[in-house]
Symmetry: C2
Subunit: 287 residues, 2 copies
């Protein structure tokens, strides 16, 4: 039986936190006819209202207990600093059989934190949908955000295979590819492929003198695009994955120093060698 045939629909899914990711999950579930009810759960009534207006959720509530009590699946899409607390909170009101996952950009602290003190009810499996945008908020949600994207699902040694399977199937049903790694492997990899680029883009944007900005073309714009991401969300992510990010930063700084030395010494062979390695890595992914 292939994944398509096994794609199940849910009666009720609760989305806790209706920003870009939560809103897009709701839109995708509804557009694909995968959930009868999508309950938007949050604290900010205006934000919940926008999510409902956008069609991302079928109902909303600021009463978390009421919001999650009927859900078979609960997706916690709040900033990484809050995920552990929010998972604990929903577990106090959800069904014993409820599946709980999250969408946090770091996984070690979250998954180990939840595991260290088992939750009251429901079963947690960590996720990181690597889709997104430098834009945030439910008004930027898109039903196709996960199509062709990659989601990392991070079971631990204690996670039951069938639960990992269900969460994997959930993300696949939204159009995402799924890979599994341990929370720690995930954090090391995203430090290099996502968190380091954010720091580099932000430092590049910050180091640019405003007097030069009028000359900015597609090169500067592309290279700095992610720096437009929400500063507080990114502070949390970087702080949460500090050790791996520092390691990636040091690798990068070492390579940057090689470029500097090749340039300063007018080392044409060295410089072109470095530019070619960069080009080869970039070309391997296409546009």
């Amino acid at each position: 039986m292939n994944d398509q045939a096994r794609m199940k629909s849910w009666d009720t899914v609760a989305v806790v936190g209706v920003g870009l990711i939560g809103g897009s999950i709701g839109l995708a579930l509804r557009e694909r006819g995968l959930a009868r009810n999508v309950v938007g759960v949050g604290r900010d009534k205006e934000r919940l209202g926008i999510a409902e207006q956008c069609g991302a959720v079928t109902s909303t509530t600021t009463d978390w207990s009421e919001g999650v009590q009927d859900a078979e699946l609960i997706v916690v899409c709040t900033p990484v600093d809050h995920v552990v607390d929010h998972v604990r909170q929903v577990s106090q009101s959800c069904q014993a059989s409820a599946l709980i996952t999250d969408a946090g950009s770091t996984k070690g602290r979250i998954c180990r934190g939840i595991e260290s003190q088992p939750i009251t009810s429901g079963v947690f499996v960590g996720s990181h949908p690597m889709a997104g945008s430098h834009k945030s908020g439910p008004e930027h949600a898109r039903a196709d955000l996960f199509e062709g994207s990659l989601t990392v699902v991070t079971p631990t040694e204690r996670t039951r295979e069938e639960d990992t399977e269900q969460i994997t199937l959930f993300w696949k049903s939204l159009g995402s590819h799924v890979v599994r790694t341990s929370p720690e492997e995930h954090d090391r990899a995203v430090a290099a492929i996502s968190h380091l680029p954010h720091v580099v883009a932000s430092a590049l944007a910050a180091s640019t003198s405003p007097e030069h900005l009028p000359l900015a073309g597609t090169g500067w714009r592309d290279t700095t695009r992610v720096a437009a991401g929400d500063a507080e969300l990114w502070r949390q992510i970087l702080a949460d994955n500090r050790d791996h990010v520092l390691q990636s930063l040091d690798n990068f700084a070492k390579v940057l120093t090689e470029y500097r030395e090749a340039l300063a010494a007018d080392g044409q062979t060295e410089l072109i060698k470095l530019l070619e390695v960069g080009k080869r890595n970039r070309d391997s992914l296409g546009s």
Copy 2:
């Protein structure tokens, strides 16, 4: 009289070097009905053939003397290391009244080099159309490449105002905005806004371990996009503008160190301050 009213058409324009930029100039001139003849001049018959097939030029020749003799305007679009030689070469066969410009990404060495030993015939005014792509070759040329883009025109103290005006009008007629600076001011500015981003993107791509590439999302892709540019072209540009690029690199490295220190010290206030400066600079330009 506004620029539109003053937009003149040329009888014959010669484009020397029919890559992405040269090809796009030809396509734009033809699509906008601004030139009766666009002569593609180069050394590589196959490349010239592609440019003609794409409709970028109306005729082609590998005989440079024949190619430029009837041209009122000659645009040299060859790699920066060759621009001075190529301008000298076309000046030996062109009309005394011919205007010559280039499309090189550096301007100091080119403009001062040509000025230091006046050319035989024709008048040179340097240009840098800041449009482009990480793709190269006439097959990627686009008639709209310059629309809404920015071109820097770099007269020196010896350039006649009317010649600067003509070259300015030429780029405007292709849809570009135009600013004027000295060749030296240009080089300092593009080191920061274009050459530094290239080095940073390339170093980021080069420092990424291939094992992590399968996880690359839009963040890594955007931040490293320009690293796909032609390595030899970029080696020439960086070497040509070495002093300014080194200065920009050092500014960047200093800011990057501030990020590292804030992160290592868990300096939440410092880190968010840095992320906010980056975001503010990036946001000021829109998506």
